[in-house]
């Protein structure tokens, strides 16, 4: 499959976000890209145990959608969640430390790569169980609704998760009860090592919204402005009591499923075709064309971001490993 350049994005001619806002998005996407590149190296150095799932190429979905949320809103994410946690404002240092099992990590080192969580930011869970992010978000949204709090929950999942039972159960329940939820499916074309169409009965995952009586919207996941507009409309709809929306963001992961996967199952040329629509480069081209941020300023910004990400990983590596007592404390209730 080739990148989707067609007319799939839903909302038309929106007011552009303030230029400053787009620069912050640009910076955040650079930060996520640099973070993920560094994580790959940390794994290769044996500084991180277990496995990891990187999101290079998908940055615009995380940053565009999550920036549509308010500070009190909830967010649930997946095991490919580093970008989403950073988009929600988690510091690279807290995330690096978590990946390395250190006491300064966001979960004091007991969570790891697949469980970046920060309740202070409404990031109430990062789930390795496929589909769990959707059901937990519905529960959190319903709790808020019953308490009369005007809070929205945004849930991320991947394309493969839309074949899981909890995905359909969550959509049905959220629609029935008009739960204030925004479901975001990152369709990166592969569920682990399988092309989507070999495991899935529909081409457009947004079609699955119809079965549950909610809007299903397809958006170009490489276009951060389009993602943000679509998510903003869905968040507003949820907050006004009209119920959930299913957003399908068509995107692509540059790397394999996990760190040891060279993704040799992909057809020749597919990766290169998608890289021509790199989400960071696309926004960069717009910012340069509109004379908001010149190509030179973009390079300088990228260098700054790289330095700060490098410093964060070095600092995180100096954090100590949690003691057994601390681990017990953070895992078991007294």
């Amino acid at each position: 499959m080739t990148p989707n350049t067609s007319d799939q994005s839903v909302t038309a001619a929106p007011p552009h976000p303030a230029a400053d806002g787009r620069i912050a998005w640009y910076r955040r996407m650079l930060e996520i890209r640099a973070f993920e590149d560094r994580v790959q190296e940390l794994f290769m150095d044996g500084l991180v145990e277990g496995t990891t799932h990187l999101c290079q190429g998908q940055e615009a979905v995380s940053v565009g959608a999550i920036n549509a949320l308010g500070a009190d809103d909830y967010l649930t994410i997946t095991y490919r969640g580093h970008g989403q946690a950073l988009a929600r404002g988690m510091s690279p240092e807290a995330a690096f430390a978590e990946l390395m099992g250190r006491a300064d990590g966001c979960c004091h080192g007991v969570g790891g790569s697949m469980h970046l969580t920060d309740f202070s930011r409404g990031l109430i869970g990062s789930f390795a169980i496929i589909g769990a992010s959707f059901s937990v978000a519905v529960g959190a949204a319903m709790a808020a609704k019953l308490q009369g709090r005007p809070v929205v929950a945004m849930a991320f999942c991947g394309d493969g998760a839309t074949n899981i039972g909890t995905f359909h159960e969550a959509l049905n329940m959220a629609s029935l009860w008009k739960a204030p939820v925004v479901f975001v499916v990152e369709n990166n074309l592969y569920g682990e090592y399988s092309p989507l169409r070999s495991t899935t009965s529909v081409d457009d995952l947004a079609d699955r919204a119809k079965a549950n009586g909610m809007p299903g919207v397809i958006v170009d996941g490489q276009d951060i402005v389009a993602v943000h507009e679509t998510a903003t409309a869905a968040v507003a709809r949820a907050r006004s009591g009209k119920g959930p929306t299913l957003i399908e963001a068509k995107t692509y992961r540059y790397r394999g499923h996990s760190r040891t996967d060279p993704a040799a199952y992909r057809p020749a040329g597919e990766l290169d075709a998608w890289k021509k629509r790199d989400p960071i480069a696309l926004l960069g081209a717009t910012l340069a064309a509109e004379q908001v941020l010149s190509a030179e300023d973009q390079k300088a910004l990228a260098r700054d971001v790289q330095k700060s990400v490098d410093a964060a990983s070095e600092k995180a590596a100096t954090s100590r490993v949690a003691t057994m007592e601390e681990m017990r404390h953070f895992v078991y209730a007294d």
């Binding site: 794994f43 290769m44 150095d45 044996g46 760190r259 040891t260 996967d261 060279p262």
Partner: protein, 80 residues
């Protein structure tokens, strides 16, 4: 600056890896993230990527050789 390229630790408990083939020759320029060699481990065969941009200055492990994790298998001379 000369930067060492080491046999990576791709999975927990990995002790050694095989350099299947070199994808760059001595004197070739390399970009950060570009594949230098193909590495085989007990789990997978994957690309070993350059961490810095520069010129591949030395190849220290021939294709087909198995070496312990951490062995310096090549060096890259950076432009800085």
């Amino acid at each position: 600056m000369r930067v060492e390229v080491k046999m990576p630790s791709v999975s927990a408990g990995m002790e050694s890896g095989i350099v299947v083939s070199w994808l760059k020759a001595v004197g070739d320029t390399v970009e950060r993230g570009e594949a230098l060699a193909e590495i085989e481990t007990d789990k997978a065969t994957l690309d070993l990527e350059a961490r810095v941009a520069g010129t591949l200055s030395e190849i220290l492990t021939d294709a087909g050789q198995e070496v312990p994790v951490g062995t310096v298998i090549a060096t890259v001379e950076t432009d800085e």
